[in-house]
């Protein structure tokens, strides 16, 4: 378990510890005081749920733990718990996420504010147990809020915030906190622990089933049949779906407000939707997601030293896609290189690249953009890789954009 590595800073009196991303997520969950967690192990998520189980066993977390027989039941048990009023949490990845897809798709439809970490892992097959964004990217149309973290500290802080975002009455949607398998799950770093009482105040009282409940004191049919072409069916279905879409759009505001309040209470400020790094006078930019951003920022710094006017745009909130925030971030540049750790099979590019194409349309002007794919199945994305991205993106300023994606680890 974690070790305390610094005496508490005078200002906050809070502990500073050294821990891995998986443990940081578990500690954040303990701070959020869920009623119920359900667990099923899968690499590279396993140590996360082991930490959760240990926290409960040691009495440091008062939650009911469901040791389910698979991810499908993990999510199903939590749905039941939420409908009975429980604050709920789990974590999974890769094949586990694929296995739970049936209840996964249903969770936002029932407007259940679950929080689930995806310790991102590449999709099989080819067989692999290492990190990549293919799992989370593949389910991005299922209606969950998906937020990606860059650092272990951000994992901890965002996991706590996720409960507030999910349970906000204007949102009422489940949240995936995505932390990169291997790089963040097992990467140890310095983490400041928030104060429990302050977190309690930040999260407030839970009320997760005010809108839909399975409670003999408030008997109702949950999710009766709707749709079809007769009677109230079509309009009723539309009302549910449109409400779900509205909740997603409301989440953009609520995520921003939660990050702002977090910054004020805890002194750590993270860009809620899109982070602009050295973008003020940038001529061109890279776009990143998750833990690769650290190496990318270092590379941008080096390129700046060498006189290149490059900046970086990092997406934190991937679903709902932050269209307006991205429009603003990209407004001043003339070329863009988008780096993905997953593929979009249909468009032969990275999924974040494809999503960004839609934003470019709304920019109302032509912005040459290239797709870079790297970091698949645990492959490293180093400064050398990002220098290549920078050079190739800079070349877009005076040359044609490539039709094909650039596969960064193809010759590693």
């Amino acid at each position: 378990m974690s070790t305390i590595i610094e005496t508490p800073p005078q200002a906050t009196g809070n502990k500073v510890i050294l821990c891995e991303g998986n443990e940081a997520a578990a500690l954040a969950v303990a701070l959020a005081r869920p009623d119920m967690v359900a667990v099923y192990p899968i690499t590279p998520q396993s140590s996360l749920v082991e930490h959760v189980a240990k926290l409960i066993a040691e009495g440091r977390m008062d939650a009911d733990i469901v040791d389910a027989e698979g991810e499908h039941s993990v999510l199903s048990a939590l749905q039941g718990g939420a409908l009975a009023g429980a604050r709920t949490y789990t974590a999974t990845c890769g094949p586990g996420l694929a296995f739970m897809f049936e209840p996964y798709f249903r969770t936002p439809g029932m407007r259940l504010p679950l929080v689930m970490t995806i310790v991102t892992r590449d999709g099989i097959t080819p067989q692999s147990v290492w990190g990549g964004h293919q799992d989370a990217m593949t389910v991005r149309e299922a209606g969950w809020i998906q937020i990606y973290c860059e650092s272990v500290q951000e994992v901890l802080d965002t996991t706590v915030m996720a409960f507030k975002i999910a349970e906000h009455h204007d949102v009422m949607l489940p949240v995936n906190v995505c932390l990169d398998g291997n790089y963040l799950s097992y990467g140890a770093s310095r983490v400041e622990m928030p104060d429990q009482a302050e977190v309690d105040e930040f999260l407030g009282d839970k009320n997760v089933n005010w809108h839909v409940a399975l409670d003999p004191l408030r008997p109702m049919a949950v999710d009766p049949l709707t749709g079809g072409s007769g009677g109230k069916g079509p309009s009723s279905f539309v009302r549910y779906r449109r409400g779900q879409c509205r909740g997603m759009q409301n989440a953009l505001r609520v995520i921003t407000e939660a990050h702002e309040e977090w910054a004020q209470r805890f002194g750590r400020r993270f860009a809620p939707l899109v982070e602009s790094y050295r973008m003020d006078d940038a001529e061109f930019a890279l776009m990143t997601l998750g833990s690769m951003t650290g190496a990318a920022k270092d590379t941008v710094d080096e390129a700046r030293e060498a006189g290149k006017k490059v900046g970086l745009v990092k997406i934190k909130t991937f679903s709902p896609f932050p269209v307006e925030a991205l429009k603003q971030a990209l407004s001043g540049i003339k070329a863009l290189g988008v780096v993905d750790r997953a593929v979009d099979f249909r468009w032969n590019c990275g999924p974040m690249y494809r999503e960004t194409l839609g934003v470019l349309y709304r920019l109302g002007r032509h912005l040459p953009t290239a797709s870079f794919i790297g970091g698949l199945a645990g492959a490293d994305l180093t400064l050398e890789h990002f220098h290549r991205v920078i050079d190739a993106t800079e070349a877009l300023l005076d040359g044609p954009a490539p039709d094909e994606p650039v596969w960064l680890n193809a010759n590693d």
Binding site: H72, S73, S76, G81, A84, P103, P216, M220, A221, V222
Partner: protein, 452 residues
């Protein structure tokens, strides 16, 4: 509504005149070994002179029937005999009796007679609802029938489904689910996974509901795990609710089996009732793993190359026994008394752990028989041992609740419906063999439990 009462029933086809019931009565009532004092008398048909044990079918019962229109009461000049409104027993008051013996002439059943030992009349009082003669019978010829409880109690319980559920004509499932939910009561969260039960409208359409308790469609795959989450949260906050599923055999035995097995293994406190109509009947009568060998279904059709299902049914309740559930039982819609007894036990068990109740419910539409024959078909299934009625608890093991010692050949059951009408002799032989094999297997489990 009037009151119904429990009664002692006699099956002459099972009685060989051994007299154990009389011995028990004489012992319990009079501390006597003299069977002539017994209030129950088994007499040989005909002249009644020869009382040696003999062949079943030769014996008759002389016992107070606790009549609804008792002649003994009518003829009594002293008001010493009265019909007890709450127990149904004809009470005899020795303080009022003038020993005129008119009652013994009034009764057609020899149910009240002179006890020569004391010089006064005596009659059966059902031992206050626990008649000593019944358990004493080694042949199951005597039963204490408490079905009246269903009539008396259920009538007062609220029907928690809305009227007008859209079941097929003659469907026993509607009967079953209405009875079951009435018994479980309003402090229930009900899961009805996709199938006939929600198909009838129990969860409702477009914002309406067919059920008066909280009800939901789980996925076909996750009924047990969703219920587990619900039950756990109420337990956490100190509220006692019953988490109940009314599921079909397909969702339980096929695609939902993993979550069912997981929840049972974890001992989740759930009442899981499976209505086994041996296929996916709501979606058009497709085969499930509970469909029996040889049966026509829409995915095991009959034609030049197809002769119905080619595999035997999965025995889901036995699989649940091997999860060491708190309670497992099979039941039939033709035997409501047995079903109610098991429901009571299952409800109680679901407060301690996983309770599983598997109810065989014939499907008029999918099995293809007329809508007015449902109970008859269900009864035939039991009488041929095609369906075995038993219960299991961790402490007691498995025991038969309605053993059928002289089963009819399975053809008696198969011929009641059209889904089996194409069967060849070889297929029928296979089914008969499997019925016997299954009986032997379950019997061994029951014998093992008895031995322990």
């Amino acid at each position: 509504m009037g009151q119904a009462y429990s009664t002692i029933a006699f099956d002459p086809s099972a009685c060989d005149g051994c007299g154990e019931c009389m011995k028990a009565c004489a012992r319990v009532k009079f501390d006597s070994a003299d069977v002539s004092r017994s209030l129950i008398q088994i007499v040989k048909s005909g002249d009644g002179a020869d009382m040696r044990p003999g062949t079943p079918g030769e014996f008759e019962l002389a016992l107070c029937r606790q009549c609804g229109d008792p002649k003994c009461v009518t003829v009594c000049p002293a008001a010493a005999l009265t019909k007890n409104g709450s127990t149904g027993v004809i009470d005899w008051d020795p303080a009022k009796c003038v020993d005129c013996l008119l009652c013994t002439l009034g009764c057609s059943y020899a149910g009240i007679s002179l006890d020569a030992e004391v010089g006064r009349v005596s009659k059966c009082d059902t031992c206050d609802g626990n008649p000593a003669c019944v358990p004493a019978c080694p042949h199951g010829a005597l039963r204490y029938v408490t079905t009246s409880r269903i009539y008396n109690e259920v009538g007062d319980w609220e029907d928690l489904f809305a009227p007008g559920l859209a079941g097929c004509q003659g469907c026993n499932t509607e009967l079953l689910m209405r009875h079951a939910l009435r018994r479980v009561g309003p402090d229930t969260v009900l899961a009805t996974p996709p199938g006939c039960v929600p198909g009838m409208g129990s969860v409702g359409f477009n914002g309406t509901t067919g059920t008066k308790v909280p009800v939901f469609h789980p996925l076909l795959t996750n009924t047990a795990s969703m219920l587990a989450g619900i039950k756990r949260q109420y337990k956490r906050v100190g509220r006692d609710i019953t988490a109940m599923a009314i599921a079909g055999d397909g969702g339980a035995s096929d695609v939902g089996f993993q979550s069912l097995s997981g929840a049972a293994e974890r001992g989740e406190q759930i009442l899981f009732l499976v209505i086994d109509n041996e296929g996916y009947m709501n979606t058009g009568m497709q085969r499930s793993s509970c469909t029996p060998f040889g049966a026509w279904t829409s995915t095991t059709p009959v034609g030049e190359h197809g002769q119905g299902k080619t595999q035997d049914a999965k025995n889901l309740p036995l699989i649940m026994v091997n999860h060491r559930c708190e309670y497992v039982a099979t039941a039939s819609t033709a035997f409501m008394e047995d079903l109610y007894d098991k429901l009571d036990k299952a409800i109680a068990a679901s407060k301690r752990g996983f309770a599983y109740l598997h109810v065989y419910s014939p499907c008029t539409t999918g099995w293809r028989f007329p809508g007015d024959r449902n109970i008859e078909v269900a009864r035939k299934a039991v009488e041929t041992n095609f369906v075995l009625l038993w219960e299991y608890t961790q402490n007691r093991g498995l025991r038969f609740t309605r053993p059928v010692n002289d089963p009819a050949p399975v053809t008696e059951y198969l011929k009641t419906m059209a889904r089996f009408k194409h069967l060849s002799e070889a297929q029928i032989d296979h089914i008969q063999r499997k019925v016997e094999e299954n009986l032997r297997f379950v019997k061994r489990m029951a014998e093992m439990a008895d031995a322990e």
